[in-house]
Amino acid sequence: MIPTHWFLILSAILFAIGVCGVLTRKNGITIFMSIELMVNAVNLTFLAYARQFHQIHGLIFVFFVMAIAAAEAAVGLAIFISLFHHRATIDVDEANLMRW
């Protein structure tokens, strides 16, 4: 059996990649993909712990997280489409109508 901490290290790396993506990318969709990567890294952590504890709570949480991530995707993409209508770009740095 693969030790739990291997999964944890992998998920920490994935989460870190996601955070780096959010911080460095300018394209809205790429940022959104990075956020999804963060959320999925968290799912991996939950699954690793649930397997270690032989518990169902962690597994259930993963299902809820997946459902919420899908809802978040719908809302997020709708907002980006709306932004694209105004600007013809989804570069987040171009959204500077108000001071950051």
Binding site: L8, F15, G18, V19, V22, G28, I31, F32, I35, M38, V39, A41, V42, T45, F46, A48, Y49, Q52, F53, Q55, H57, G58, I60, F61, F64, V65, I68, A71, E72, V75, G76, A78, I79, F80, S82, L83, H85, H86, R87, V92, A95, L97, M98, R99, W100
Partner: protein, 492 residues
């Protein structure tokens, strides 16, 4: 799932069914009936409020920890906050009325989203498991993202929604990672189990990291420094009634869940998280108040003021004593109503060529609408915490709690920063009373009058005679207080 479990969830079930029906109304040909949308929403909120009160009597006999496998509690704390949320949403419905009539957007969808946001907040504040808290939080957040961008033909509104969404989604991810690490260390998602597990764990890096991430995610929701960058832009860009929603109901929800998690689950956490939160609180108060001074846009000014108020509310959470818990309850109520009153006044000024969003727009309001100018002064004094108003009672509890918990320096800083905050609140008063106004009417419609008058009565009455509120807060915090091993005592 027994009948008792259904009773616990009844208010949430009613509001979610009601919000779904609101969404369906345009399909059956009611799209143009805008007045019915408002009344349907108000009736729905009334039914929900009555159900919350009815359920609170029903569930008194049932041990809270057994409801829905320990995932959901309908204790006094939750009921107190649920009633605040419902009242606030009802007032926001009234504030939205004229605002929406001028626009071309579907009011049904707007009220439906407000209903879902309310459902999320009510679910979250009752959450006893990190699963139910997370789901409630996301339901509230996702509805808020859409509402912030509801006026999709206005570029500012869309931009606000985009910024709110990107930063909100990142903070949710961070919060979630914190939850997963806490789960990994404690082996449970239930707040009481986590509390028990933490009392035996001395020190653990994963736990420290997890709590920090969870705290960061929650601080984002309540807009505390350094997680506040979204606040001014979102508040400015969102439609004004939605700004009112974000700065009152949504913020009170963040206070409540912060208090619930930290009092129930993390009270035995022996690491120095209270010092970290104390620093965040101090930074929020200083940065929020100082940045607000330089703002010319009222919405941005109130955004920075709300950042400062997140700092004050954190005092009640850091102090971890009975005064602090009651302080969070009292302060949330007082803050919500003072703020809603201010937004009602801002909306009275709105229907003119110059908007009502700038400080200049308040010039000469004392001559154009003497009574509402006076009401505005009372609301501003309440936010500043000046004695005859309710704001004083809230701040008194929070500052006393901080002193009792040994954070004297923080209480002194909070008092100083309250004095600084009076500087920019008084800027509006000076504009209203000492400057010549422009020759324009104010649009004082009946719904705005109702909201402002109700807020005025609450703010003044609770400021002059706060005993019922204090007793209610003591009563409401009893269940959590007993589990957090802080015993609420009578009087002071």
């Amino acid at each position: 799932m027994t009948w008792n479990d259904v009773v616990f969830l009844l208010p949430e079930i009613i509001i979610s069914i009601g919000a779904s029906l609101l969404l369906l109304a345009p399909v059956v040909g009611w799209r143009q009936r805008e007045t019915s949308a408002k009344w349907s929403m108000l009736i729905l909120l009334g039914i929900t409020a009555l159900t919350v009160i009815g359920c609170s009597y029903w569930v008194q006999e049932i041990p809270q920890s057994r409801s829905l496998a320990g995932m959901f509690a309908l204790d006094g704390f939750a009921i107190f906050f649920k009633l605040i949320f419902i009242t606030a949403i009802a007032m926001i419905t009234l504030l939205s009325d004229d605002f929406l009539r001028e626009s071309r957007y579907s009011v049904w969808e707007y009220y439906s989203l407000l209903g879902f946001a309310l459902c999320g907040m009510m679910f979250m504040v009752s959450g006893m498991s990190l699963i139910s808290i997370y789901i409630g939080l996301e339901l509230m957040s996702l509805s808020s993202y859409i509402l912030a961008g509801f006026f999709k033909n206005e570029e500012k509104s869309t931009e606000a929604a985009m910024k709110y969404f990107v930063l909100g989604a990142v903070s949710s991810g961070i919060l979630l990672y914190g939850i997963s690490l806490i789960y990994g260390v404690c082996g449970s998602l239930n707040l009481l189990d986590i509390g028990r597990a933490l009392s035996t764990i001395i020190t653990n890096d994963a736990l420290m990291f997890g709590v920090m991430l969870l705290g960061a995610g929650l601080c984002f929701k309540m807009a505390a420094v350094p997680f506040h960058v979204w606040t001014p832009d979102v508040y400015e860009g969102a439609p004004t009634p939605i700004t009112a929603f974000l700065s009152t109901a949504s913020k009170a929800a963040a206070f409540s869940i912060f208090a619930r998690i930290f009092y129930l689950a993390l009270h035995d956490f022996q690491l120095d998280w209270s010092n970290v939160l104390a620093t965040i609180s101090a930074l929020s108060m200083v940065l929020g108040n100082l940045a607000a001074i330089t703002q010319d846009n009222v919405k941005r000014m109130l955004a920075y003021s709300s950042i400062a108020h997140a700092g004050y509310a954190l005092l009640g959470i850091i102090s971890l004593n009975s005064l602090g818990l009651r302080g969070v309850l009292i302060y949330s109520l007082v803050y919500v109503f003072a703020n809603l009153g201010i937004w009602a006044t801002v909306l009275m000024l709105r229907r003119h060529e110059y908007g009502g969003e700038r400080v200049d727009d308040f010039e000469g309001l004392s001559r154009r609408a003497p009574f509402w100018a006076f009401a505005m002064v009372i609301f501003l004094l309440s936010l500043g915490g000046i004695p005859p108003t309710a704001g004083f009672i809230g701040k008194y509890f929070l500052f006393a709690a901080a002193i009792q918990a040994g954070f004297g320096w923080l209480a002194i800083l909070a008092v100083l920063m309250s004095a600084v905050s009076m500087f920019y609140y008084l800027r509006l008063v000076v504009a209203m009373y000492l400057r010549e106004g422009r020759e324009a009417d104010v649009a004082i419609t009946r719904p705005l009058q109702i909201v402002a008058a109700t807020c005025l009565i609450i703010t003044l009455l609770l400021g002059i005679y706060p005993t019922p509120l204090i007793n209610q807060a003591t009563e409401s915090s009893r269940w959590i207080g007993a589990r957090a091993a802080i015993i609420p005592h009578a009087g002071r």
